[in-house]
Every structure is written in structure tokens, then in C-alpha cells.
């Protein structure tokens, strides 16, 4: 199997899908000639032309609205937000037009919104956000957040083939840092959780970029056997896998990079507190970014985003509980 970066895996998924389904096209700001702010679409315009790899005006609401329109007449648009932070600029089109369409009138909206998200490189308050919770709280949107190169490709293909609007969170900090074996051709990764590491003393439940932070933090924790559950999909949320992990481990740490209040982690924790209560051998601990904009200067950003040491410390405390 070819080895590639997380970023290459995303490009590969786009290329494969565009080759085998002419309805698929990508659109966004600077994605054509330039190949995208992160070069995810580099080379695609040369292969597929300017109509299928479309440089749009700088207008996020228009990108989503136009994608919805194209989708309902038979296309399969894949939109890129230059940074996931800009989803705030098309929030209305996404939650009100795309999200509610099928429930209201039985009309499917097969669109994918690629959202380069996350911090860790001094992107500052407007280029470091993790908007997944906003999207999870909007009925009718699916939300996925791969952590590995193979899942990035498989989940993007699954998202493109899904008849619903799917928000695809790709963590900028994984783009070039994470490599892995990626099957050639097309395959779909199911929108279910994945056990990133087995273990039964405690489970760390997370997704996206934090999967790697969690793995590193729990690698060698006084010999404790710590499971890491990579959710992969947030909507649908693999409740069975979460509860199974809680049942096996009894102690739970929920980690997300987003601001803590009403985050994905809050939902996971609330789910467990309601349906997994009897399995719990201790409080459900959370590690997340406090409710603060992501600061620019390295020492500040580091103090805000969950670090390996923060997770390790929380795990230690809970193990000792």
C-alpha cells in the first residue's frame, strides 16, 4: 500500500472521486490555479479543468448556496472553506437551507464542505478554530473528523457519496505531520468510531488532531492499559462504541480541541452520564480548550490548546481515583 500524508490522502480522495463520477466537482477560493491555501487541490485543475475545479469569488454564503443549488439538480459539489473559521460566514445557508432541506421537503442535498480546522501554529483567533459543535447542533448536517491518512481518504469518499450535507473537518496540524499507508483506488470508511489503541483501565475518547495528542499522552502512563477511542464521526455519533468502551474501562477522559462549553466532548460526556452511568468508576473528566479565543503568541496558544502534559495529568489523576 502506498504511504502518503494526511493531506495527500485528501487530495487522492478528491482525484479518485472526480475520475469515477463526473458529477463531482470542487469549488472554493484559490483552489484552482493556486491549488488551495494548503495545496490540497494542487494539480486538480490541470487534470479536470476550470469548471470542475472552480475558483470562486470570495463569498462563503454563495459557495454553500451555489453548492446546494448544483446538488439538487444532480451534481456532487465539494466545497472548500479556506479555513474552517469562515464557516461562520455561510452559517445560515448551511444550517437553514442545506440542513433542513430533506426533512422539510424530501429533497436530498449531497454536498461536502471541507473545513481545514484546528490550531497549533500561531494561526490566531480566526485561523485556529474547531467549529464542529456548532455544526453538530444543527439538525440535518453530518460531521466527520478523521485523524489518520487512511481514514481521511475513506471518510472523504464516504462523504462525497453520502446523499446528505457532510461537514468534513480536516485538521491543519495533521496535513503534513501525519503519514500512513493508504489503500489505492476508492473505498469508504464507515462513519463509526475506531479503537486507536486497545486498553481496559481507562478510555480516552477523542477525535481529529487530538487523537495523536492523546496517544502520545497515554503511551506509557505508569504501565496503565489505556484505550484511545477515535470517534471519526461526530454526526452520526457512534454511541454504541462509546458505551462499550465505558463498559470495558470504567474510567473516562473526553478530549477535544474546541472551546469547552457545549463542545462535542460535552455531548459525549452527557451521553455517558445518562446511558453509561452504571459503568463509571469515577467522574468523567474533560480536557478541552477553555472558552477563550485561540491566541496567536506561542506561549499563549500553548497555554490554551490541550497539550500532551494536560491529558497525561488528567489521566494520572483519574487513574488514582
Amino acid at each position: 500500500m502506498p504511504e502518503m500524508t494526511y493531506l495527500q490522502a485528501i487530495s487522492d480522495a478528491l482525484r479518485e472521486e472526480m475520475r469515477c463520477d463526473e458529477r463531482v466537482f470542487v469549488m472554493g477560493e484559490d483552489i484552482g490555479t493556486y491549488g488551495g491555501a494548503f495545496k490540497v487541490t494542487e494539480g486538480l485543475q490541470a487534470e479536470f479543468g476550470a469548471d470542475r475545479v472552480m475558483d470562486t469569488p470570495m463569498a462563503e454564503a454563495a459557495i454553500i448556496g451555489a453548492a446546494i443549488g448544483a446538488a439538487v439538480v444532480g451534481m456532487r459539489p465539494v466545497c472548500e472553506m479556506q479555513f474552517s473559521d469562515f464557516v461562520a460566514c455561510c452559517f445560515d445557508q448551511l444550517v437553514n437551507v442545506a440542513g433542513k432541506m430533506h426533512y422539510r421537503q424530501g429533497l436530498a442535498v449531497p454536498i461536502v464542505i471541507r473545513l481545514p480546522s484546528g490550531g497549533g501554529f500561531s494561526g490566531g483567533p480566526f485561523h485556529s478554530q474547531n467549529p464542529e459543535a456548532w455544526l453538530m447542533h444543527a439538525p440535518g448536517l453530518k460531521v466527520v473528523a478523521p485523524s489518520t491518512a487512511a481514514d481521511a481518504k475513506g471518510l472523504l469518499i464516504a462523504a462525497i457519496r453520502d446523499p446528505n450535507p457532510v461537514c468534513f473537518l480536516e485538521h491543519k496540524n495533521l496535513y503534513r505531520r501525519i503519514r500512513g499507508e493508504v489503500p489505492a483506488g476508492t473505498y469508504q470508511t464507515p462513519m463509526t468510531a475506531r479503537v486507536a489503541r486497545e486498553g481496559d483501565d481507562m478510555v480516552v475518547i477523542t477525535y481529529g488532531g487530538m487523537v495523536w495528542t492523546a496517544l502520545e499522552a497515554t503511551e506509557d502512563l505508569e504501565g496503565a492499559s489505556i484505550r484511545v477511542l477515535d470517534l471519526r464521526s461526530l454526526v452520526p455519533l457512534d454511541e454504541a462504541a462509546i458505551l462499550e468502551a465505558v463498559g470495558d474501562c470504567g474510567k473516562v477522559v473526553v478530549v477535544d480541541e474546541a472551546n469547552a462549553t457545549c463542545a462535542a466532548g460535552a455531548q459525549v460526556s452527557a451521553l455517558i452520564a445518562e446511558q453509561g452511568f452504571e459503568f463509571l468508576d469515577g467522574p468523567i473528566r474533560r480536557v478541552a480548550t477553555p472558552d477563550v479565543p485561540i491566541a496567536f503568541s506561542p506561549p499563549l496558544e500553548k497555554a490554551l490548546l490541550p497539550q500532551v502534559e494536560d491529558i497525561r495529568e488528567t489521566c494520572r489523576e483519574l487513574l488514582a481515583y
Binding site: 470562486t56 454564503a61 451555489a66 439538487v72 445557508q93 437551507v97 421537503q105
Partner: protein
Amino acid sequence: MATSTTSQPRAAEVERLTLADRVDLLRYMLRMRGIEQRAMTLYRQGQVPGSFYDGLGQEAVSAGAAFAMAAEDRLCILHRDLAAHLIRGVEPERIFAQYMGRCSGLTEGRDGNVHFGDRRLGCVGMVSMLPDMMLVAVGMAMAFRIRGERRCALTWLGDGSTSRGDCHEAMNWAGVQRLPVIFVLENNQFAYSTPTSKQYAVNPVERAAGYGFPGVSVDGNDVEAMFAATLEARERAIDGGGPTLIAAETMRMHGHAAHDDMAYVPSELVDHWRGRDPIELEEGRLVAAGVDVEGLRAEVGVELEEALRLAREHPFPAASSAREGVFCEGEAQALGDGLARWSGYA
């Protein structure tokens, strides 16, 4: 640079209407008014949940524009445009059922009043946020252009909606990509209680030039003029000539919704427009052409009473179905074709 022009019903297009077409145009306007009048009564009787919006006095805008659309065209119909649904093929019975929240309504009770569109007839139901559907229409037109199809998309928007950013993003994008899309600006003088003077300093029809396509002012109460202007725009669109903004001057003769007594509207204004009723205008023409207009009115009345009688009997949706259908489980189905009523398409 194209600038705005006022088009009177131009011989060229109007002459392409047969007498039968013109009778049809009147029929759809009569149906729209008849349905909305009955629905208003239903609302007062507590049979229509939520609120109720109608398009009294604006019937020509949706009837004339929709009549010029082909089966393969796609529409996003707004809340004052009931005639457009009828022209695409939606039965009055299902509209009454929709208003009453019955399971046989177009949204099966999921959405209310005019927030509907029959996907099998090439229509996307509007969302409440205005004018979001302009961007959806732009996207449909973009797909037509990419696939090289001779089709176009059309949507309506109100005078108040011109203030929203989405209106600009849609007009700009359509202009840059020269898309086959038609925007029908329905200037009914008010946005809820807000007069156009608080909405814009310059008539938005003037803005089309700034986006690189024509803006055309039309008498929105003249159904034949609306048809003519729309047909002209459609032919330009499918020939690759790009978008058109049609500004239809009309008047909202009722309050914003059923609860609104529109005390804020000067009575002279209402009187002025009452004298320009779009249905009476067309009836006058057809009477002169020897058409039995009274007979037509009676016919429509009977038809609607029967539709209403049947709709009243439809059940409400089952509570157990409330959670179903948030996501599409099967294959995504694209929009279907609507009916094309104009004889020129036969």
C-alpha cells in the same frame, strides 16, 4: 454597460400568447386569489396553524413569470407567488392541505404556509431566511452552464430582501459567471412594515448594470408584460446571454401576514393600486376578446370549493413520524420537471 430599461409588453413576446394562453394566465391568477381568499377564511376559523401570508394584488408577478418557464427549468418560488406553484402543476387540494398542516400537504406538515415546493415539479421550497434562495438558483444555473444545458433557473425576491448580503453575493456571482438565471424582484412597496425608502436609496433595478447584466422594469400588475419580460430574459439566458434582473412594480394589498392590519400603509396608496388590480386588468382584455370571464370565475370557484372540501378531510400527520427523514437514507433524487403551460412549448 447594460443599464435598466422599462419594457412595455413587447409585441414580439406578447403576440406569441394565444387567446387560450391568455385565458390560462387569467385562470391561474383567479386560482391563486381564490385559494388565498379561502385560506384566509380558514385561518380566521383557526384551521390554519401558525401565520398566513398571501399575495393579494400581486398575482400577475408569479403567473406571468412562471408561465414563461419550460418544463426543464428550475424555480425557487417565494411567499407571494402561489400562481407559480399552480402553473408548475401543484393541485389546489394539496395547497389547502399544506396550509392546514395535513399529511397530504406538500411538506407533509413539516413546514408551514408558503414554505413549500414540489421537488417532482422542479421546484425548491423557500426557506424563511430571505433571499437565501437566490443563491440556490445561482447554483442550479451554474450546474446548467457547466453541463452545457439550455435551461435556466428563476427565483423571486422582495424589495426588502435586496438589503441582504445574499442578494449581492448571488447577483455578483451570476454576473461573473454569466449564468442562465432570472431574478424577479417583486417590489410590493413594503417589507413587512418597512417602506422601500428605508431599504434602499436607489431603485435596485439600477444595480443590475453594476453586476454586468440588464435590469428591466416591468408593470408587475400586467400579467402579459410579466410574461413578455420573462420570456425575453429566458431566451437570453439559454442562449448564453447571462442573467436578468426583472423589477416588477406592484403592491402588497394585504398586511404582511394575516395578523397585520397594515395601518402603516397610507390609504391613498392602497386606493391607487386597487384601481390597478391585475386580475381586473386581464379580465378587461379578455372580455374585449369575447371570453366568458364570468363562466371562468364560476368554474374556478367550483373547482376550489371541491379541493377545499377534500383537503378538510385529510388527516394530520402521525406524531410517530415526527423524527423521520432528517437525513436521506436512500439515493439522492434530483429535481424533476414541472409542467410548461405556455402553448409555445407544446
